[in-house]
Amino acid sequence: MSLPVSGRVWSGTLRPILLVPLLIALSGCAALRTDFAAVERDLARGDAEAALQRLGPLQDSRLNRPLYLMNRGMILRVAGDRAGSIAAFEEAKTRVGELQAVSLSETLAGWTLTETASSYVPPVHEHLMLHVYQMLNFLEQGDLDAARVEALQIDLGLRRVDPRDGEAPDGGDALARYLSGIVFEASREDSDALIAYRKAYHAYRRGGGSVPRDLQQSLVRLTDALELHDERDGYLAEFGIAAWTSQQDLRGRGQVVLLVHDGFAPRLRDESLLVPAPDSGHLIRVALPSLHRRPSGLAGASLGVNGIRHQAEVVERPADTMDRWLSRQMPLLISRAASRNVARYQFTRQVEQDNALLAVLLNVAGALADNADTRSWRTLPDRVWLARLFVEPGIHEVEVLLDGVAGAGGTRTHRISPGGLLVISEHWPGGGSGATAQPLRSRR
């Protein structure tokens, strides 16, 4: 049975009435029904199982599938389930790849309805970190070839973003390039390693940060090995290096790399302004995201092998990258916010002619549905520290220390093979999440 609905009724009253619940539904369409603060607290307590369960509601959200997979991959990784983490990150990469194409409906909704009605497409720096953590998963598993695949994918991805120089627009490529260099060097591909180290060096310089000491040494060592003497001398002068160990001398040794994933990335908050228009009384809402940092307070970290201590350095600051990314996005976000208000105003003005009450309802619902997009990869760290040591092959006592954190770190015995690469990751969630933090370790 079909109900007779005249064109007049549909265009005059029924359509706006239907739009009210639609707008209200839309306001929650991509909203994160997951309590991320609780996920972080669970992780800080070392309860990855509970964190995964809390992430559950995000699982069935078509728009947030990549976000779910990236967070799931990170939680599984922290919990030591590398196979699960690798599977989640691989699926995330596939989904993100599919989202590179433009959705007309989502784009239109972004300009006319709300910011949160679109699929979550990770920005370049998150996409890079997806590869970095997948690379670390493989390295911790001892699968150097698979880690090398990630290094190649990082390069390919950056060349798509910036065909000329392969640089990330807001940064975040320094660690990706640096780790790629370590992977190429461990694979005995010195020229590829040098290219990756050079790109890491330029990324650090571009970001205004200092170049890590190990990267300085690596640049000198490889330019020397490849007989690029002018370039080597340039680095020696710039970094003030007087002596270095040659590539030849390091060939038979193994290496230990420590990465400390410190705290949680900043969160985005919805900063909304809701005011009535002075002349018409229509509600105007401008909803924009703002960045809130959550430093963990970790003072430092170090790697010790057979009693010889080596201080780790901060090699990536996702918080700074996110800050630059948000600043770059802001003009577009403001334009879209203005466009949505114009669309809402015109629409309610038209409905007003037929039904004043409905117009008010639509105006309120439309304004409430207009939210800032506060989605981001929240389980990323605030900072990443790195220390690297070359050691003679054999069995070694490897010690990890987090400065000022009682009970953190520890000592374990590892066998290092000639030319082997041992990667150790320590996740320090920090005290900012509101729970008593436990260091979480995933290592090869």
Binding site: T94, L108, L113, P163, F347
Partner: protein
């Protein structure tokens, strides 16, 4: 003008709320399906078939028979994935093994991991099996040749078009004196054009 904007907004809403039902179709394993343009089962099968055909058509088998009077025993060693994709080299190795065994021209020896499991079973047999049925240790067939190789890629991207060039290099090396008795190469070139729009 306003009706247009209104219509577009309604359309955008409707499109977003449309769900996609899952549909599964069974297809033959011989059917070529390229979804993403990445290395897939068809590439693995075609490359292994063609390379093994080339391997078996060369003179090294006859030379080996002439020297020893026996069929050559081959083992598959490491095939390294040096491409920009995570390729499951195990399926590729299985495809090669199948083609070699089914040719009937070579004897095939189990590789590393499998060998350990077989040895474990043999040790178990020594304890638990009836003596007349237990297989003693020390009777394994040593391989005469080892097949090793790499999968490499070169990619080039312009806008939404990507050209992926896969090169598979295989080499058969004599375990007696390290001489290469066969080197084979197969290339696949794929042009992937990515759509500008999605639903």
């Amino acid at each position: 003008m306003m009706r247009g904007v209104q219509g577009i907004a309604v359309m955008a809403l409707a499109l977003m709320l449309v769900g996609c039902a899952t549909q599964v179709d069974r297809v033959g394993t011989e059917e070529v399906i390229d979804l993403t343009g990445r290395w897939n089962d068809t590439d693995s099968r075609l490359v292994s078939e063609e390379m093994v055909q080339d391997l078996l058509a060369r003179g090294w088998i006859e030379r080996h028979r002439g020297q020893t009077g026996e069929q050559p025993a081959v083992i598959v060693g490491q095939i390294r994935n040096l491409s920009h994709e995570h390729i499951n080299t195990n399926t590729f190795i299985r495809d090669i093994e199948r083609e070699l065994i089914n040719s009937g021209q070579v004897v095939f020896v189990a590789a590393g991991g499998e060998r350990d499991a077989i040895r474990e079973e043999r040790t178990d047999q020594a304890v638990h099996a009836r003596p007349d049925t237990a297989n003693p240790p020390g009777a394994e067939l040593g391989a005469d040749y080892m097949l090793t190789g790499t999968i490499n890629t070169i990619t080039d991207t312009e806008g939404r078009t990507e050209v992926a060039y896969y090169q598979v290099d295989l080499a058969l090396t004599s375990l007696r004196d390290n001489t290469r008795v066969w080197v084979g190469q197969k290339q696949i070139r794929k042009v992937i054009r990515r759509g500008l729009f999605r639903s």
